[in-house]
């Protein structure tokens, strides 16, 4: 495209921000691109996003609003980080002709540094760093101890109460019903629970569209972004997920093979699901 074909814009503001600035690992958060240009602009198509290779893209929404002689383009990307640590994002860019000078320009937003908080331990940089790194672990241990103490106290109170009741009314014998401690339900499903669900769905309906949905789900499970091919995903798969390689390959085949081969490819997927480590 020649420079003459670029849109003529007077850029007033171009920013890239994250909300929250310091998200948690595995939690969805927003990246916001705001571009304010002078005048009424109906559409802006050529904002180039920074490469989000360390983030999983979950959604993308674009709007343009007009007010007081300006047009405001907002793009909100819903993303998720799968690893703790610092992520440096390059600026978003916009190619346009500057309406004031008539020159083709490449506008850039600010770069962005995101610090993803998470469970993963990092090398200690200092004594403060040790504390910062261990704080979530220590908090969990403290919570666990408080929980155990509270449980023991509750049991002791209940035992004393029952003994007192038994003394008062010896004719009534309360059967001692063992109450198993229920594990607290986790906030999200585990990896294998999600895989089991995906396998169940595929077994129930063995069609190409279901295969594709299951493929998307399994790719999401290993943190694959929409811009990664299978080779990209396999190249950076952590050791923990290496047992998913045959499954990822089988799903790739089932998603793109011929109609004649589809039933056999789906059976391969089902077998691969069964072979995933419990």
């Amino acid at each position: 495209m020649r420079a003459q074909n670029l849109p003529r814009l007077t850029v007033e503001r171009f920013t890239l921000s994250a909300k929250p600035v310091s998200p948690k690992v595995g939690r969805q958060f927003s990246l916001r691109i705001v571009l304010v240009v002078r005048g009424y602009v109906r559409r802006i198509d050529n904002v180039t996003l920074p490469i989000l290779s360390q983030l999983a893209l979950r959604g993308d929404e674009r709007t343009i609003a007009h007010a007081r002689g300006t047009s405001t383009y907002r793009e909100t990307l819903q993303v998720r980080a799968n690893r703790a640590g610092t992520i440096d994002l390059a600026p978003a860019t916009l190619d346009a002709v500057d309406a004031r000078t008539g020159q083709a320009e490449q506008y850039s937003s600010n770069p962005l540094r995101i610090v993803v908080r998470g469970r993963l331990l990092r090398p200690f940089a200092s004594a403060g760093g040790v504390f910062e790194t261990l704080r979530p672990v220590l908090a969990r241990i403290a919570l666990f101890i408080v929980g155990v103490v509270a449980l023991v106290l509750a049991l002791a109170v209940a035992t004393v109460y029952l003994l007192l009741r038994r003394r008062r009314r010896p004719e009534i014998v309360a059967p001692s019903v063992p109450v198993p401690l229920q594990p607290e339900p986790g906030p999200t499903q585990t990896r294998n629970e999600r895989l089991r669900d995906a396998a169940l769905v595929l077994r129930a309906e063995q069609t190409r569209s279901v295969v594709r949905s299951v493929r998307v789900a399994v790719r999401a499970l290993v943190g694959a972004s929409a811009h990664e091919t299978l080779a990209d995903v396999l190249a950076r798969l952590p050791d923990f997920d290496l047992d998913l390689v045959p499954l990822l390959r089988a799903l790739e085949r089932a998603a793109f093979t011929t109609d004649e081969d589809l039933p056999s490819a789906i059976q391969s997927c089902i077998r691969a699901f069964a072979e995933v480590r419990e």
């Binding site: 490449q106 091919t229 080779a231």
Partner: protein, 307 residues
């Protein structure tokens, strides 16, 4: 037993150290019935790779060294008057071969380049009143040296577009170069043995044409090519629909090379740089700002969501 493309790939890798990507590119060109442009500095086995491909396929091989004084008749052929029979006899040029190495294609003037590229397109040459069909398979492998541009004639974009692939060859890494020294310091580089016949190549082409490409992948290909046409201060013109067709054919050839009868997104992503890099016209601003066409293309490709 019929030979497979993998047999040829193994034979080539046994002869040529490193350059696996180039070997795959040559095989893709052979399977997809296209021509390839090889670009790289001197001394990195460009010519050897072409000779080795011909040897492994039992194909006729001709090498034409392009120079500024070359004439079209030097490559296509000419008619010579025979005094004894008192008539003109046709002498066919070196282009009549299964595999033709057009060495340093950018050193010949436009007239000669056009004669070669016309033969590549039409698969026949016309000498005087007679047309002569070129053999099947007919593969032109043209080389260019990116470092030494003095006295060269750059190929116009329309002619570059006729090459199915542009294969960039780089220097080998340290381990590969050590292996080259150990193997070939005191010996002539051996060509591989014949492992397949020309009939096999024709069969592979038929198989590749039958390889399944899902409609979602067709859309992915179109989106990749469209990404090269997006407004950018670095690009004068993006890739043509011929690039989309080349992407489909190369992806099919790669699927066959990997023993599959269907194309995966990885096939397309893998061949896209080689198919697109010579079909885009870049502005001088790209180089002035220290960027390279390859990095721009990689970024454009990575920006397209994978189905």
């Amino acid at each position: 037993m019929t030979a497979t493309p993998q047999d040829v790939e193994r034979a080539l890798k046994a002869s040529i150290v490193g350059q696996d990507a180039a070997i795959e590119g040559l095989l893709l060109a052979a399977i997809a019935d296209g021509h390839a442009l090889l670009e790289g500095p001197p001394g990195i086995a460009k010519t050897l790779a072409c000779r080795a491909l011909a040897a492994s396929l039992d194909a006729t091989f001709k090498r034409i060294q392009f120079t500024p004084d070359l004439l079209p008749a030097d490559i296509v052929g000419t008619r010579i008057f025979d005094q004894q029979s008192a008539r003109f006899d046709t002498v066919l040029g070196p282009i009549v071969a299964n595999i033709v190495l057009a060495d340093e294609i950018n050193r010949a003037p436009a007239k000669v380049q056009s004669a070669l590229l016309e033969a590549m397109q039409e698969r026949q040459v016309t000498i005087g009143p007679e047309s002569h069909a070129l053999p099947d398979p007919f593969i032109v492998l043209a080389t260019m040296n990116p470092l030494d541009n003095d006295g060269t004639y750059a190929l116009p974009l329309a002619q570059m577009d006729r090459f199915l692939l542009k294969i960039d060859l780089g220097y080998p890494n340290v381990e590969e170069e050590l292996e080259i020294i150990e193997r070939y310091a005191f010996a002539q580089t051996p060509l591989p043995q014949t492992v397949a016949a020309l009939e096999d190549v024709r069969r592979w082409r038929a198989q590749a044409r039958a390889i399944h490409v899902d409609r979602k992948l067709h859309r992915y290909i179109v989106e990749l090519v469209a990404a090269t046409r997006q407004p950018s201060p670095y690009v004068l013109g993006g890739a043509s629909p011929r690039a989309s067709l080349a992407l489909v054919n190369c992806a099919r050839a790669r699927a066959l090379l990997h023993g599959r009868d269907y194309v995966e997104p990885d096939d397309i992503r893998s061949v896209a740089p080689a198919v697109l890099r010579h079909r885009i016209a870049f502005t001088h601003r790209l180089v002035l700002e220290g960027l390279s066409p390859s990095s721009w293309i990689d970024r454009a490709i990575l920006g397209v969501p994978v189905p």
